[in-house]
Structure formats: C-alpha cells, structure tokens
C-alpha cells in the first residue's frame, strides 16, 4: 500500500509540471470537441495528434493522448443530449433519457448530470485502476470465447428488456441487426457473405447506420413540424446546475455504474457500448418507476455515463499490463508510443514507473480539468436550442453526412446512410425499437466469432457454454432478463 502512494506521488511530480498540465487541457478540449461530432471519435483524435507528439517526451505524449481519449468520452454525450445524435456508439444510451430531458427544457441540467456522472465514473475508474489492476487483469485472462459469447448474449437480451413496447418487436429489431452483422467477409474462413456489391466486402460500418438511424431519421421526424420550437423558456435553458433531487437520484446509479463499467472495460474487446447498455438495464430494473425511463429519468443518464468513463479506465488495464490494446483508441496510442521508443506492457511499471504513474496521476488531474471545461461549455451549448428548426435540421443533416464520409472516405456510405435513415423512419412508425438493432449490429460479429472460437476449442461440443461457471452465470442472467421482460410484457397486455 505504501508503495502505491509512493508511486502516486512520483506520478503527481510528473503530472503537475506546467507543460503537462497545459497538454492535459489542450488534449481534453480537443477530445471534447471531437467527441461531439458524429462519426469522429477518440481514435481519430489521437491519430490527428500523432505528428504533434513527435517532438514530445514519451510521458507528455501519452498524457496528451489519454486526455483526448477521455475528453471524447465527456464530449460524446453532448450531441446525444442536444440533437439526439450520438457522437460515438457508447453515447447511444445517453440519447434515451438525455434527449427527452432536453426537449422538456432541462438541457442544461441534463448536460450537468452527464458531466458529473462522467467525472465520478472517471475518478472511480482511476481508483480501481490504481488498486485493482493486478487481480482484475488476472481475472480477465480467464475470460475465454465461451464467457465472451455468454456475456454478449446477456447484453443482447438485456437490451430487449429495456426497449419500449412489445417484446416481439424487440426481437424483430435484434434479428435485423444480427442479420446485417453477417454481411461482409467472414473472419473465420475468409468467405464473402451477402456481398452483392464490392463496397460491402468489409461489412456495414455500424457508425454509418447509427448516424442514419439517429441523426438523419431525427431530421425526417422533425420535418413535419419544422416551424415548431422546443417548448422551452429562455430562463430555464440557461441553467446548467443540478437540482437537489437530481443529485439524490444520481448517487446510486454512480455506485452501480462505475464498477460495472470498469469490469466490462477490462474484458478483451467488450468496450463502452456494452457497459452503457448494461448499466441502463440495471438502472431500469432497479428503479421503482421504470415507466419514467425513456422520458427523461435522471438514473438513465447518470448510470450509463459513469459506466462509460469507468470503462475507458478499465480498457487501459490490458494496455498497461499486457501491452495489448483493449480498444481501437488504445491501439492508436500503442502505435504512437512505439514510435517514441516506449512499449507499454508488463515491464513498463518496473522499467519506466515515471511514465506509467505519471499518466495515471495526469488522468486524475485530467478528470478535474474536463469537469471544469464541460460545465461552463454547457452554457453556450444550450443556446443551440434557440436556433429555429428550419436552420438546425439542415445543419444536423450536413454534419451527419460529413461524419459519414470521414469514417471510410467512401461515397457508397452515403447510400447506406440514406437507406438506413428511411429504414429508421419506418421502424419508428411501426414502433420497432432501434437500440436492439444497433446493439445487435455492433455485437453480432463478435458474438458469432466467440461462438465459433468456443466450439473450435471444445472440438464442437456445446457443453463448453454451461460447464464454465462464468459463462453459465451469464446464461442464467440472460434467461432471467427474458423472463422479466415477458412478465412486464404480460402486464402491458392486461392494461
């Protein structure tokens, strides 16, 4: 324990130099802005920074890149709340309750809730990272393909339980998502599946579909009442503080969301999307008023936001302990560090403690800096709501198409985004929920790979899924969540 504090002091020595604090600020600001734009995520932000880091010492470089990384986590939810357009997949859940809050004129409060939840999640995640890295990393190794498959299955069924309305429609949405996920080259055999045009060879990028379903569909929906303003009065949108009630209702979701997010983040390849969806499901089932979810429940915003930021800390565990990137962003960071001659990995803490602990300390500082950036930033942001729809909607449309193009530089994606926007509009009319579809599209490929890897390892026996205790536990939880959904559904029918 003493050594941890000793190391942490060493870290603060490194982190609190003026140069490093300056880069935390610049990186955090850049990350926040990049996170807000649809299609641009932390991986892009870090890649843009690579040439800037050439002249830096490796510690400053890593500190700057980490600042962009968690800056984007803060920023990703801004657009979800303001224009129902997630900046990244892990900000989808923020749309569920953040956007309804904004529509009710509580945009400022929603932004404050999400900023504070991100802060709490980030700080809790850092504390876990400092004290629990070794045991958690050992646990993550036990997590094989069978466990991974069962976790994904649980995440998918849990999402159905949280979708509005008929459970059958939830399954239809999930089925559509899973079907779309099979398009492209099969990772196991290299065979092409459902590739009718060459542009589909690499599959459908879920971010393109996400921009279509959320941003562009939102424009279609609002087109009918284009002259309508949000029903907000000028006074309330200016307030960016949280009410006493919001504080009280955020507390438990923080306590549940942060450890959940961290654990999911450590698991190889799971990531922020699962963490946020699971946290939302947990909050909805724990709530005494589940009917408020989807209409601006504080818990539905606070839980997933804290889970998302704790998850980004968890994703650093495999990078720092094994030298392997847990996410796309971590992969870019790893590459940039290697060019500077530093290899993160099991020996980093022994050979370069000042790098490892400097970064950890700077992330603690960075969380505070980002809270300080994001709370005042909400004031100009909420003014966006004063922009008339007939100006705002074309802007959203333009940003959506721009974000789409920057994903793959492929004009074919314009067709995909337009088709998915029309599809999203029709699904909305049929009250088929979008979230299970998007989650299934994101997780479909991974779920299938894990299933097949598990069967390869067990030489074809499905017993591997129920003989492994962790896997069995997730399967049982998946069944419970389905039973819960059926029960709830039954009630709806009676009413």
């Amino acid at each position: 324990m003493d050594t941890v504090f000793h190391n942490l002091m060493l870290g603060f020595d490194v982190a609190l130099t003026p140069v490093n604090i300056m880069w935390v600020f610049i990186g955090g600001l850049l990350g926040t802005v990049i996170g807000m734009l649809p299609g641009l995520g932390p991986a892009t932000g870090v890649a843009v920074l690579i040439p800037v880091t050439y002249g830096m010492n490796p510690t400053t470089a890593l500190i700057t890149m980490c600042a962009v990384y968690y800056g984007a986590m803060f920023g990703g939810s801004r657009a979800s709340i303001m224009i129902n357009t997630p900046g990244d997949a892990s900000a989808i859940v923020t749309c569920f309750d953040g956007y309804p809050m904004a529509k009710k004129g509580k945009a400022g409060e929603a932004l404050a809730i999400s900023a504070w939840a991100s802060f709490v999640g980030g700080m809790a995640g850092m504390v876990f990272l400092i004290f629990l890295t070794a045991p958690v990393a050992a646990m993550a190794l036990k997590f094989g393909p069978a466990e991974k498959f069962s976790l994904m299955l649980f995440a998918l069924t849990a999402t159905i339980t949280l979708s509005e309305g008929s459970i059958l429609k939830g399954f239809i949405a999930m089925g559509l998502g899973l079907m779309m996920a099979t398009i492209g080259l099969d990772g196991q055999s290299g065979a092409s599946r459902f590739v009718f045009v060459e542009d589909l060879q690499d599959g459908i990028d879920f971010l393109v579909i996400m921009i279509g379903f959320y941003a562009v569909t939102e424009v279609f929906k609002n087109f009918s009442d284009i002259d309508q303003q949000y029903s907000v009065d000028a006074k309330s949108i200016g307030s960016v503080s949280m009410s006493k009630e919001a504080w009280r209702r955020s507390f438990m979701p923080w306590l549940r969301g942060s450890p959940l997010g961290f654990l999911v983040g450590v698991l190889p390849g799971a990531g922020g999307t699962i963490a946020t969806f699971l946290s939302y499901a947990v909050e909805k089932s724990a709530s005494k008023k589940p009917e408020e979810f989807g209409h601006g429940a504080v818990e539905g915003l606070a839980g997933p936001e804290s889970a998302n930021n704790a998850c980004s800390c968890g994703a650093l565990v495999p990078l720092l302990t094994l030298g392997i990137p847990g996410s796309g962003t971590a992969a870019v960071m790893l590459g940039a560090l290697m060019m500077l001659g530093v290899r993160p990995g099991p020996v980093l803490f022994e050979q370069h403690p000042e790098v490892a602990w400097g970064v950890i300390a700077s992330m603690l500082v960075g969380n505070i800096v980002l809270l300080a950036i994001n709370l005042p930033l909400a004031i100009p942001l909420v003014q966006l709501l004063k922009i008339p729809q007939r100006i705002m909607l074309p802007l959203v449309l333009g940003m959506g198409f721009m974000g789409t193009y920057f994903l793959n530089y492929s004009s074919f994606d314009f067709i995909l985004v337009s088709v998915s926007a029309l599809g999203g509009y029709m699904l909305g009319k049929l009250s088929i929920p979008i979230p299970p579809l998007v989650l299934a599209l994101i997780l479909g490929g991974m779920t299938e790979q894990s299933y097949r890897n598990a069967l390869q390892i067990s030489n074809g026996s499905i017993s591997i899924f129920y003989e492994k205790p962790i896997s069995l536990a997730f399967l049982i939880m998946a069944v419970i969540s389905l039973v819960y959904a059926l029960k709830r559904h039954g009630k709806i029918v009676k009413v």
């Binding site: 299609g39 641009l40 995520g41 932390p42 991986a43 892009t44 870090v46 890649a47 843009v48 690579i50 040439p51 050439y54 993550a140 190794l141 036990k142 997590f143 094989g144 393909p145 080259l185 990772g187 196991q188 055999s189 290299g190 060879q201 690499d202 990028d205 190889p268 390849g269 495999p318 094994l322 030298g323 392997i324 990137p325 847990g326 996410s327 796309g328 962003t329 992969a331 870019v332 790893l334 590459g335 940039a336 290697m338 060019m339 500077l340 001659g341 290899r343 993160p344 990995g345 099991p346 020996v347 920057f406 994903l407 793959n408 530089y409 790979q449 890897n453 390869q456 390892i457 030489n459």
Partner: protein
C-alpha cells in the same frame, strides 16, 4: 473504430487532388505537390507505423521539399489503399506501403492487383515469425511441441489472426509439415483482432500456442510470461540470444515478414529514379535508423531492381506453399 482516420490529412489530401493538374516532365523530376504516403490500414498497425516513420525521416532529414502526409485507407486486406494508388497512375507524389499480403490476396483470388501492377520502389524492413507458448508449458523447442501435436492434434489448438492464409498461418503449416505432423489435422482458432485477442487467450490457457510475428510477443517474453519455441530468421537475433532459429532446429525454414513501399503505375523513368535514389538515401539517415530501432524492426533494404526480383521469387514460392496446403486449388 480503427477504420477512422485523420480528418486533418483528409482535408489536406482533397486540397492536393484539386491542385493536381499537369505534372511537369522535366529531365530531373521532383515532386511538385505534397507527397502522400498511403497506409492501406487503420492507424496503429505495422503499415501505419512504417508510413509514419518514412514521413518523419523524409521531413526531418529534408530529403524532399514538399510536405509529406500519411493517409490511412483501410479495407479489403490492403486492397482499398492499393486500388487508390492505382488510380493515381503516372503521378509520382503517391506511395503506398505493402507486404506479402499483396501477393497473397492475388494468389488466393481476393484481388486482381499484385506486385507488378505497381512500381516496386524498395523493401524496407522485416520482422520475423515465431511460435510461442506459455512460459510454464512443457515444450521447450519445435521438436517437442510437434511431437506432442502428432500424438493428440485434437487438443493442441493454435491461435492465428486476423485470417487464414496469412504469413503466420503459412509459417505454422510449413513447420508442421517439416517437423512431420499432419498440416491438415492442425486445429486453428482464428482471432480477427490478432495479438489483442491471441495473447490473452494464450496466457489464459484457452489455446496451446500462437503463431505470430515476434514484435507482438516481445513484451511478454521480456516479462517471462511467454516462451518462444523458434524463430524464422536465418540467424539468432540480438534481443533474444537464447532463442534458436528453425534452421538450427534442423528444418530448412527462413521466412521474413517484410514490408516495403510501392509507387503508382505508369511513372516516367525520371520519377522512378527520384524515388529509388531518395529512399536509398533515407534508409541511411540517423532518423530512419533510430525509428527502426524504436520499433524493434530489422532493416531489410532492397533497391527497386533487387526488390522486383525478390517479389517475383516470393510470388512463385508462396504459390507453391499455398497450393501444397490446399488453400489454392
């Protein structure tokens, strides 16, 4: 996520394309607009790091007067980036990173493009292939491992990624054959996210061995968590003096995992000469040497003539080995 790439260089690239009217045909050609280095993959991987090392060396050593940009064009196992380069026919400002994958894609029928669709400028670096097991595994060398494999192939799962038919996969098939095990009986588990999934799977005991390039295992080897059974280099490497080559273990197998650089087709002799000379100068600079050292890559320079011959030879060899294991029918 890794499909995304830099907004900045994208904007600049579009500026470049606007200004691309008319390339001067002088006796002594020089780039007249910004130079674009194409990494046919997302940021962070081998091609991306190679392109960025070139960018650094060309700029900092002032070998070119024009700005140098790196653009990431992921997709199709490199094909997206190479198709883009092909569309720049006759323009000397575009270079792309390449590897054995350009031969494999063509041989396996995934792409029409191959090495002679372009002007091969140079080979630059290589990594070596290894087979690695957990540090507490009972096998000490290739012979012991493949003996165990002959006895019980059904329980000797081998991690490979991102797809079958790549260098890692071919190495293992070839070794099985040379050590007397049946290549068709090998149980491969494919990990599309490569080392990020393979190493935890190995350390967690889910698979018995991985076939992979050395660099991705180095940190684990240093930490004493992974043991390397053999390496595909022709002699032992400095960093790992205790790891025997396959050759020393009695099988004739030397297999570089190289990466090089190609230019657009249809270049004038002056344009070709410019890049052959410039890259020749670049690989001698301290900036380049330092970059290779930081990345723990071995320099493997071949000029345009030597590289063209190397590619033709490799293509023939690879066709033979892919046919032998049944991947080409």
């Amino acid at each position: 996520m890794n499909k995304k790439w830099t907004l900045l260089s994208g904007l600049l690239a579009s500026v470049v394309m606007v200004g691309s009217a008319g390339v001067a045909q002088a006796a002594d050609w020089k780039p007249t607009k910004p130079i674009e280095l194409i990494a046919p993959a997302g940021p962070g991987g081998g091609w991306d790091l190679l392109a960025r090392s070139m960018q650094k060396a060309l700029t900092e050593e002032k070998l070119v007067d024009q700005p140098v940009l790196v653009t990431n064009k992921p997709g199709g196992g490199g094909a997206t980036g190479w198709n883009y380069l092909k569309s720049k026919s006759g323009q000397g400002e575009f270079l792309a990173m390449t590897s054995a994958l350009i031969l494999q894609n063509n041989l396996l029928g995934k792409s029409d493009l191959t090495f002679n669709s372009f002007y091969p400028v140079a080979n630059l670096m290589t990594e070596w292939e290894v087979v690695a097991v957990k540090a507490d595994a009972p096998w000490k060398d290739g012979k012991e491992f493949f003996e165990a494999m002959k006895k019980d192939p059904a329980n000797m799962h081998i991690g490979v990624g991102p797809a079958l038919g790549n260098n890692d996969h071919i190495q293992f098939l070839a070794l099985s054959k040379l050590f007397g095990a049946d290549p068709k009986a090998v149980k491969f588990v494919v990990y599309p996210n490569t080392a990020a999934e393979q190493i935890p799977a190995l350390l967690g005991g889910h698979i018995k061995a991985i076939t992979i390039s050395l660099g991705e295992t180095m940190e684990q080897v240093k930490a004493g968590k992974i043991r390397i059974l053999g390496i595909s280099s022709d002699k032992r490497i400095k960093e790992l003096p205790n790891v025997a080559t396959w050759k020393e273990q009695g099988v004739d197998f030397v297999y570089p995992h190289w990466r090089g650089v190609i230019a657009a087709p249809g270049l004038s002799p002056e344009q070709q000469k410019f890049w052959n000379d410039t890259i020749g100068k670049m690989v001698k600079t301290p900036t380049w040497k330092k970059a290779m050292q930081n990345l723990e890559w071995e320099e493997y320079y071949q000029d345009a003539t030597a590289h063209a011959k190397f590619l033709a030879d490799k293509n023939t060899q690879m066709k033979e080995s892919l046919t032998a294991v049944g991947l080409i029918k």
